[in-house]
Amino acid sequence: MEPIILKYQVDGSDFSMAGEASSSVKKTLKQLGFSPDLIRRVAIAMYEGEINMVIHADGGEATVEISQSGVRIILADHGPGIKDVALAMQEGYSTAPDEVRNLGFGAGMGLPNIKKYSDDLKVETELGVGTTLTIQINT
């Protein structure tokens, strides 16, 4: 199989509709015949990353590389960056605003979930410049 590359702009303004890119990737993987287990791991990790870009960084860009051996998800934003990555990776740490918490987010579980469901997670971030997550999920 030739590697497939998908690109999405993630809109930061409509929180209630966030998840369109993850949803589209999930459908594509299904059509390509990947296992339900891989699809679920990709969907969960990408959705958490996508929703983080919407909540914390006013949107960004998602690039998804699909190959025989697995899926690599690159989520790049120009948001505020993460001050302390080790702290952000801890379960329960969150800076989410109240209106987001009222919708059920802000438990500080998103990044830990991405780590749990992926084979490799790289967080590159610079204050005032932005954050790039590279998530690798192997078949």
Binding site: A18, S23, I44, Y47, E48, G104, M109, K116, Y117
Partner: protein, 112 residues
């Protein structure tokens, strides 16, 4: 093992969406209103039992591949959530009781 429609009938849940959809097996339930807990911890044969009724709840059910969403306390999904459920073939059920009572009922029914 029970499927979603059998569980709904046995517990007296009504449908907001998906009466006609394929019934997937249900093994248990995950009761929580915090969506990142749900997405990280619910199993793919767990019904999601919650009072949260916004479109993100439906998105989480889709991403975590859950067999159904059960809204407790008689809570109604908002219009955008219903639309998303229809688009993505998510079964959304209604329980008139609180989350704890709903979970007890599910537990009893699933235990047979």
């Amino acid at each position: 093992m029970m499927n979603v429609h059998e569980l709904a009938a046995a517990c007296g849940f009504t449908y907001f969406n998906g009466k006609e959809l394929e019934a997937r097996p249900v093994e248990g339930a995950y009761c929580c209103d915090l969506l990142s807990w749900v997405i990280g911890r619910a199993g793919d044969q767990d019904a999601l039992v919650t009072v949260m009724s916004n479109p993100n709840v439906i998105a989480v059910a889709v991403m975590a591949d859950l067999p159904c969403v059960i809204l407790t306390e008689g809570v109604r999904p908002d219009e955008k959530a219903l639309e998303k459920a229809r688009e993505n073939d998510v079964i959304v059920l209604s329980s008139s009781e609180p989350t704890y009572a709903t979970a007890l009922k599910i537990g009893k029914v699933l235990a047979g």
